[in-house]
């Protein structure tokens, strides 16, 4: 399966930020998009999921479907996942609640009858989340949380409310691991992480790669790329891909910075 981004343009308030970005990620590949501040990296991440602040043109084809014309939630259901750089807090919506709702929604097959909302809490417990019992699902979430060194208490708290920077990134990674994404985009997943957290998150990315998920890591630094070896590195500068190459390109950037791409 492939995620093909072709000639993607995006503007905000009339100002064009992405000037035609094209790249292709295959299932099980890890790609890195590197670039300095202001190069349009975060815009790329947001536009792939259809952030309403941007007007965009171009195609985002996921397994023959051009998801660029779909609303955000349909893109998610088609298999796109975005790990946010600075995710917002949603008071009263717990991590577990969100995971359960999202998992259920993303596993709904087209045209399949909707699971009725169960009002009786006793019956609700017997109900299934996307083919799993709620108990099994909860165990699975807890297992993944453990591999990320996330405390279980966090799962029952409002998502991202009062979370530390590292907790936020790990909670984003946890969602990537639980939800049935086909292509996952990580926007600056490595900023503000200590070495242990960085290792945990990198391990998560390796797990996704093994599961056949295509991964797009968007990053300023190549810090995370010491732990995750990308198959392809793309250099994004001023809204354009100016270079691409194998993993060693990232090391060159580390040594020389982006100066050689600047006219």
């Amino acid at each position: 399966m492939r995620l093909v981004i072709s000639n993607l343009r995006a503007s905000v308030e009339g100002k064009e930020i992405l000037h035609g970005v094209s790249l292709t990620v295959r299932s099980g590949e890890v790609h890195a998009v590197m670039g300095p501040n202001g190069s349009g990296k975060s815009t790329l991440a947001s536009v792939l999921l259809g952030h309403p602040a941007y007007q965009s043109k171009g195609k985002i084809v996921l397994d023959k479907t051009n998801v660029a014309v779909l609303p955000t939630e349909e893109r998610a259901k088609a298999g796109l996942f975005l790990a946010f750089q600075s995710p917002v807090a949603i008071p009263g919506v717990t991590v577990m609640n969100l995971l359960r709702s999202a998992y259920e929604l993303q596993n709904q097959k087209k045209g399949a009858p909707k699971v009725p909302t169960v009002q009786n809490p006793v019956l609700a417990r017997r109900f299934q989340v996307g083919g799993m019992s709620i108990g099994e699902f909860t165990d699975r979430v807890k297992r993944h949380a453990k591999t990320l060194n996330l405390s279980e208490d966090l799962l029952m708290r409002s998502i991202h409310e009062g979370f530390s920077g590292g907790e936020k990134k790990k909670i984003e990674m946890l969602q990537a691991l639980i939800l049935p994404a086909k292509f996952a985009i990580f926007d600056e997943i490595d900023t503000g992480l200590d070495v242990d957290a960085l290792k945990a998150v990198s391990k998560g990315i390796e797990t996704l790669r093994k599961q056949g998920v295509g991964v797009l890591i968007i990053t300023h630094y190549q810090r995370i790329l010491r732990y995750v070896k990308p198959d392809v590195v793309h250099i994004l500068l001023e809204g354009k891909i100016v270079d691409r190459g194998e993993g060693k390109l990232a090391r060159k950037i580390e040594q020389h910075g982006y100066s050689r791409y600047v006219k």
Binding site: P71, V93, L105, P121
Partner: protein, 465 residues
């Protein structure tokens, strides 16, 4: 029957049942109607006199000039008393089929079988069904409809009736005192803890009829009870009036929690006076959810009479199209070291209006009192409105007062975040709204919390603008 569709025609509980009555007073109110009600119920003379005195007060008192618009209430176009069936049933099977059917639709039997300590469900003006667990009776707990309470425990009722909310308190308290019918009478003896909540379900089911239930709860020293009332009502095209009075006496060291979920249909005027007198070291907690009705005016109050008494008011108000929820709370500190907390969360959308109206008053001589007021409003679109009318009258220096108020909208980033997880915009909104009220919903009994979330979800459907 023409149905209004204030919630996009999806109002789940908007059904009604054929009317079956054995007695109906004429429309409108005068002394003869008041006498007729009292005589029909074969009440003691003192109660009839109370009713007649209250009628005089009601007739004299002007309509309140503040709060919500009550101009369209026509007191002459209301039946003040309707008795639906011959006898009260004490077993489920004995209820008339259409009443059982109504309750089936709102899921009462299941709830009753599993959770309830005793169910007292009001159909029309009368409590027709109740079942009290033996354990309650053994502990000396009285849980009756108010009419039976008056018949079986006249001295207790006479001792407390109208002592917390006298007829002269306000026009609607006067109205209730003169035509009251139904409601609950609860008496918890000294030191008794009622572990399961006492629940009363009721609903209105006659066009043009008012509901004037009267509830009196007496919690003796060191006792505890949680009383829960929830109501859903069918939709009618003519205006309905609901003017209830709830009086609670919390004795020394006792604790009473009173939970209400109000979901009247959108033609109902819901004008309720609720007040608790709290003695030394007693605790009163009001948990109040107002979702339905056309107009609500309700400010559950705590009168903190004894040292270290504590009062809490937690309220949620939701106002959709053509609804005005004017709700809040009052905490009156008469004694030293008393504490109060009022937390109000309101949501308005589709042109709905919510108002927080609150009073915190500390009397001279009441030292070292503490009070905290938090009111948060969530406004879902530009057509909707939310106002805050807090009043503080502090007559003592050593008082700790906190007041916080926030007004917020649903953020685009929050919506985008949830949508990026496969959640539709509608559902994202309802998740955010449910999250907003979660601090109060978690105080509700489980089945009510589930129903509350579900009702919010129903209200949010089709709300995307």
């Amino acid at each position: 029957m023409k149905k209004a569709s204030p919630m996009g025609g999806r109002y789940k509980y908007g059904f009604h049942k054929p009317e079956r009555y054995v007695f109906k007073s004429k429309k409108g109110l005068d002394k003869d109607v008041v006498r007729q009600i009292s005589e029909y119920k074969a009440e003691p003379v003192w109660m009839q006199e109370r009713r007649l005195t209250a009628y005089t007060i009601f007739a004299k008192k002007p309509m309140p000039t503040w709060g919500a618009d009550l101009a369209t209430i026509d007191f002459d176009d209301i039946y003040y008393y309707i008795k639906p069936t011959q006898d009260k049933a004490s077993r489920w099977e004995d209820l008339p089929i259409e009443i059982r059917d109504t309750y089936d639709k709102i899921g009462i039997p299941e709830a009753e079988k599993k959770f309830l300590a005793g169910v007292s469900a009001q159909y029309e003006s009368e409590v027709v069904y109740k079942s009290i667990q033996d354990t309650l009776q053994k502990k000396g707990v009285i849980f009756l409809d108010m009419d039976s309470g008056l018949r079986e425990h006249p001295d207790l009722v006479r001792q407390y009736f109208g002592t917390v909310i006298p007829a002269g308190d306000n026009k609607f308290a006067a109205l209730n005192t003169c035509v009251w019918s139904g409601g609950s009478f609860v008496y918890i003896p000294k030191g008794v803890h009622v572990e399961l909540p006492l629940q009363a379900y009721f609903r209105i089911n006659a066009a043009n009829m008012g509901q004037f239930e009267r509830t009196l709860i007496i919690a003796e020293e060191g006792s505890y009870v949680h009383y829960v009332e929830g109501c859903t009502a069918p939709i009618y095209t003519t205006d309905s009036l609901h003017a209830a009075v709830v009086e609670i006496v919390v004795k020394k060291g006792a604790r009473v929690r009173y939970t209400t979920i109000q979901n009247w249909s959108s033609n109902v005027y819901n004008l309720v006076t609720k007040r608790a007198k709290v003695e030394e070291e007693g605790t009163m907690e009001w948990v109040d959810g107002n979702l339905g009705s056309k107009v609500t005016m309700k400010y559950p109050s705590v009168y903190l009479m004894g040292r270290k008494a504590r009062g809490e008011v937690l309220s949620i108000a939701y106002a959709g199209a053509k609804q005005h929820q004017d709700a809040g709370g009052k905490a009156i500190h008469y004694a030293s070291e008393t504490t109060s907390q009022i937390i109000s969360k309101s949501i308005s959308r589709s042109g709905g209006r919510t108002s927080y109206r609150g009073l915190v008053e500390v009397f001279p001589g009441a030292k070292r009192c503490k009070s905290k007021v938090v009111c948060d409003a969530l406004i879902l679109d530009v057509m909707s409105r939310s106002d805050t009318y807090p009043t503080m009258k502090i007559n003592e220096h050593q008082t700790e007062i906190e007041h916080e108020a926030t007004v917020s909208k649903i953020g685009d980033e929050q919506l985008f975040y949830l949508e990026s997880r496969g959640v539709t915009k509608e559902m994202a909104q309802s998740m955010i709204v449910n999250g907003f009220i979660e601090p109060i919903v978690k105080e509700l009994p489980l089945e009510y919390a589930v129903e509350m979330n579900r009702l919010i979800q129903l209200q949010m459907e089709g709300s995307v603008g």
